[in-house]
């Protein structure tokens, strides 16, 4: 418990489960007012109950980030409830496994791109004007190590996540001078429902842990700590940056 986000209002898009849930709890512990935004309303309610044990200043809003009117509503509801927006964390994303390129269906491509990339564009587009009204803020986008390295199990996911990294750079170039810091966290393998669901079996995750330099995969709380740092004033000179949080997996060396 601290005060590193005391009085700040944070929107957590994708806040219902996994890293989003851990971030909501971590932010609340540091004094933030938290809006949990997700299309998974059941998950959001569970997270809200956990956050409410820490602070009364928390709420949920239902949103599909790929729909502009719903995103606008998410920001409006936050301002109505808490009066402002200081921090936006974009955690909403889906990972669908796809076959190799030739066999990828257009609708798979669209679903992944719409949530992961267009959704991040939409939430930034809606939140930035409100942040500018109170003199600035911080945006933290969540990419994936699949956005840095080739990962054959879902080309659309890879591309959406590299898009998030570059979107972060460009938005930072446009809004840092107006007081909005924009950064990106790139998690490696982390034990979330998404990761468990998308590896298709629990055994796959256990095997990934065995090959990891730390002998385990990441915990959602460990990503939440990086998000907290970037959202807080401690990162006041950090903008346009990409923080890889993968426990050194990328440094393990390739088997040539």
């Amino acid at each position: 418990m601290g005060d590193r986000l005391a009085g700040k209002v944070a929107i957590l898009a994708g806040g219902a489960t996994g890293m989003g849930r851990s971030t909501a709890i971590r932010f609340a512990e540091e004094g933030a007012k938290v809006m949990i935004a997700d299309r998974n309303v059941y998950g959001a309610q569970e997270t809200l109950a956990m956050v409410k044990k820490i602070t009364p200043d928390a709420d949920i809003v239902s949103v599909d980030v790929s729909k502009w009117d719903q995103v606008q509503n998410m920001v409006d509801a936050t301002v109505e409830r808490f009066g402002r927006v200081d921090v936006l964390v974009n955690l909403a994303a889906i990972l669908m496994l796809t076959p190799p390129l030739v066999d990828i269906e257009e609708r798979q491509w669209d679903l992944i791109m719409d949530t992961n990339l267009k959704g991040t564009f939409f939430t930034c587009k809606a939140a930035i004007p409100v942040m500018l009204k109170n003199g600035g803020g911080a945006i933290v986008n969540i990419s994936s190590s699949a956005g840095l390295d080739a990962w054959t199990r879902s080309l659309p996911y890879n591309i959406s996540k590299v898009g998030v990294i570059h979107l972060t750079s460009v938005i930072s170039g446009q809004y840092t001078s107006q007081g909005i810091r924009v950064n990106c966290v790139v998690p490696g393998p982390v034990d979330t429902p998404q990761a468990r669901g998308s590896t298709q079996s629990s055994q796959t995750l256990e095997e990934a842990a065995l090959e990891h330099p730390m002998g385990r995969i990441g915990r959602p709380e460990e990503i939440a700590n990086a998000i907290l740092f970037l959202a807080s004033d401690e990162a006041s000179f950090v903008s346009g940056a990409t923080y890889v949080v993968d426990g050194g997996a990328r440094t393990a060396g390739r088997r040539l």
Partner: protein, 256 residues
Amino acid sequence: MTGRLKNKVALITGGASGIGRAAALRFAHEGAKVMIADRNSALSAQTLAELHQITPHAASVSVDVSKTDQVQQMVDDTVSRFGALNILVNAAGVLLLSPPLAEIDERDWDLMMNTNLRGLFLCCKAAIPVIEQSGGGAIVNISSMAGISAYARSLPYAVSKAGVIHFTLGAASQYTSRGIRINCIAPGTVDTPQARGSSGSADALRKIAETHPMGRIGRPEDIADTILFLSSDEAAYISGETIIVDGGSRTLPPNI
């Protein structure tokens, strides 16, 4: 004072001034026992006096990091004074302005390579066995944006700092699995004695600030905050990474 490095023993090379000094003060505030190592003994004494206002657990040692025996002495002194070593911050570095490549004096090349890269190697070589004996820990290396982008004013400096980034990657690939996280920070222009001295005039720094997205250059404290983050358990799942702290200046599009 929040105790994020409570009872950790930290050795900070280049700790007498600039980024190293800011890190030493920040670490002391967070409960660490701090050994500052620098070849500038007069400045070390000043910084040590400041540290002693925060904690009795601080000391200094004179070192030229390019000299093997002095580096070993530095590590030995730290262990005999504080009984362990958990964190090594490699902030010692020199920047000599250089003419274009064909006219670079071989001695200037050697000076920068010896301190910035060979010194980093020697410090890690001496410290890692002791960090392992102390149950693991963290190393933070200070590179520079000059190691990422082209830097016309000193090719040897730029190359040495690129080396620091890749050194970090390689060292992490070997020691992450043994409980030592190794990371790197690439600061942009920061208001240090080094930067003031190397830019040639205060006016030159002022001009950089005017075109900077944040309207200012970095403060040593900005970098110290990131060093603290990477040294602390909050960064438990980060290793091998290079974190840019440049206030978003890299995200400004080039003037084409």
